[in-house]
Symmetry: C2
Amino acid sequence: MDTQIRGDMFIGADAVAGTAGELHAIDPASGQTLDPVYRGATRDQLDRACALADDAFDSYRETAPDVRAAFLEAIADNIMALGDALIERAMAETGLPRPRLEGERGRTCGQLKLFAQVVRDGRHLDVRIDPALPDRQPQPRPDLRLRKIAIGPVAVFGASNFPLAFSVAGGDTASALAAGCPVVAKAHPAHPGTSELVGRAVRDAVAGAGLPEGVFSLVMDTGYEIGGALVTDPRIKAVGFTGSRRGGLALWRMAQDRPEPIPFYGEMSSINPVLLLPEALGARADAIARGFVQSLALGAGQFCTNPGLVLALAGEPLDRFVSTAAEALSALPAATMLTPGIADAYRAGVAAIAKSDAVETVARGQEGHAHSCQAALFVTDAPRFLAEHALQDEIFGAASLVVRCADLHEMRAVIDALEGQLTAAIHMDAGDHDAARTLLPRLERRVGRILVNGFGTGVEVAHAMVHGGPFPATSDPRTTSVGSLAIDRFLRPVAYQDLPDDLLAPALKEANPLGIERLVDGKRG
Amino acid sequence: MDTQIRGDMFIGADAVAGTAGELHAIDPASGQTLDPVYRGATRDQLDRACALADDAFDSYRETAPDVRAAFLEAIADNIMALGDALIERAMAETGLPRPRLEGERGRTCGQLKLFAQVVRDGRHLDVRIDPALPDRQPQPRPDLRLRKIAIGPVAVFGASNFPLAFSVAGGDTASALAAGCPVVAKAHPAHPGTSELVGRAVRDAVAGAGLPEGVFSLVMDTGYEIGGALVTDPRIKAVGFTGSRRGGLALWRMAQDRPEPIPFYGEMSSINPVLLLPEALGARADAIARGFVQSLALGAGQFCTNPGLVLALAGEPLDRFVSTAAEALSALPAATMLTPGIADAYRAGVAAIAKSDAVETVARGQEGHAHSCQAALFVTDAPRFLAEHALQDEIFGAASLVVRCADLHEMRAVIDALEGQLTAAIHMDAGDHDAARTLLPRLERRVGRILVNGFGTGVEVAHAMVHGGPFPATSDPRTTSVGSLAIDRFLRPVAYQDLPDDLLAPALKEANPLGIERLVDGKRG
């Protein structure tokens, strides 16, 4: 693989530099500017990327499953073949440590391979066949066949906090490509070099598979213009986004205000409540506290599933939890954050909550350099939490708020007052099951994933994963951005009535040449 | 069954009259006002309906499959038990003939029974289990289980043109109830008596099944206030709507502008292109023309899938098609339309297109009374069609426009210029397959159902049906409002990680007590 970093975008097969504005990556550990310079795409370059994607769509969406699956696997192979050049550039651009990025690379490639398997299995096509009933009275039934087809070219916005797994060839791109959608990715400006390397790996996989070049493009943007133009381009039919609530809602609104509104999948913010039920807290306050601080500090707290809120009943066990957590947190070294902007926002968020009369600061981590995260732990009680909605605002980083509840009734009131979340964790022992049973239905309404005796950080890429949740955790509660179900976001159903067999797609032909699972007359056939 | 018509709504179990404004049904055949008077719901009554729905939600969504299925079947039984009282009232309120309404009643009950079977099969729950891998390196995998749960209370807006199948207990209500969502239905003001009768049938089924009363409410509205308040009520989590584009887009916008935007499923307008390919047209121009006029005139053209646009190559066969169609259409008696307002809108639409320099009027049906539909057939050519976007506007009723295309290339250009549609029909013979092959990918982008040698009217309620399509045919191209897949609109996925078996829902328990289809470790188990 070519591991040169040149300042390129990819408009289809063409490696080109933009000309609109300038952009440099910054090493957040040192504050140093990294070469090379990147330049934003022009409107013409974006237009060409969208035109190529549209041209490629009808051909790419009908690629044979083996061809498409091999293409996804080739992307993974090409990413691995970038070797240390990729890891080192990502470290420099994000401040994230090597083991984390190596793990994330494994996750990214595993994700591509999972979707290759999904494509081969063909279950996502949801094929249904209701055979003709020519003798039915009073009217014959026609032959009806349904499959899901790709929705169209997809725009993907790379996230800052997972420069590989939620970026250029991350989950949104992998699931969109698996669905049969060409992708126009917009690189996150915090890691343009990482994006260029991965973008080239995808582009080379497109060429290697003999696919039309428009299957993938990567554009840079030095501001917000190209991102907005991408979302509003009439050839784009869906958007995947992971990032801030403000950015996500702005793009979501643009997607809705188009002459043809399109599905927008934004994963935007979450404080991920952790419930400490009485028996578990009484038995294991110290251990849970240490696990909590470890989860909170992971990656400088820059996880969508970071435990930003703890709910428990007031009393000695909770005091013990708080004091153990405070002790562990106080010892936490400051960790470099992804970008100076994120570090600034974290500081401002912590300062704002610390000033609130509704909370007390019980611990701060070690201080560090200007772009690092000094962990923070705050405590309040349920009435004050319920009275001050701003206490629900996500502080992206290693900050969390403990809410003392008088009883389970009050804990439930806090849950009911929460906005939509990605995850909720419950720490429980056998004696807590009755309490859990009453809280679970309320949690189900609020979150996409409920986990027991653990923390939400660490999102398994699996068939049964949901990384999603009610608004505003995401803009579409019907979906997940992680796991094989993520492919559903980029599909729509089409029915074919009495279409001759030779005109049917392979998935629908009578002989089932793909050998995929189908529902025939309401039964598995 | 109680077949009295009293002017009631149903707020949960309570049969009550509204107090906000007055509403009478009108017999469109005679223009006579029908008793009794209906009054619109107050904001308080609506608030109570939504509160009851929210209260019922957690319990109703966890009902055992057999209980929920039997409830759906009981609704169907109760509707049948209304007997002729229902048919006669629906005839008086809509002007639709008895056989059509009896057929529609059968469809409505069949739909409820289909969803009962869907609930028993449990496939819609999309259960996935990735068992724990405690020894996996470098990290163990937790136990992960996914199911889809009901999205929340659903608002359903009854349509005017199917007083049974797309109204109070129509497809939206049936699929929402099947998903586990309480329903607050808003009656269409054109058929309040029919709505009251069906509403009572549903309410009695709720009581008979021992379900919480909030599972179903029916409200009346004399204007737009209650409909708007229903869509913006924070307890409502999704909306089903079938109606005009103007009404649909207004409600869609309200659903997006809520503090918590919600899924809005609007089925809004479609002109359903019919492609006549050369071989078929040459061989069967007359027969296709007669079938076309029959489909066009069905129910006074008041079908969402009415063939409002015909595309064919200019030439003698098309001339023959037009002249046969003109002859058949000229003989069509005027048919009573659903409401005076719909008849006025039809007249205005026909007058507007007839005045356009871009089209010529080739035939009109027989004239009739003030609220009837006088069929109309217009002809234009592709360049003029492409130049005048308003020619794509749906005229709700038995009006259609033939577009002469110079060649298949021009036909394809017309297809590409179309807005999203519910259906496209292709008339073809063996010699047309190559042409069809080039057009199919373009049609797939534009429509939800493609049918061959038939017309879109007649929408089978089946597993493989799609009654949906790209915007603006519907507000959500990922969905269908007819067929078993319609249930997916009212579900969202939730993942459970390491939740003890006794706290898992039956669908997820290790022993699979429901005996439903599940995906275990990526394989059918």
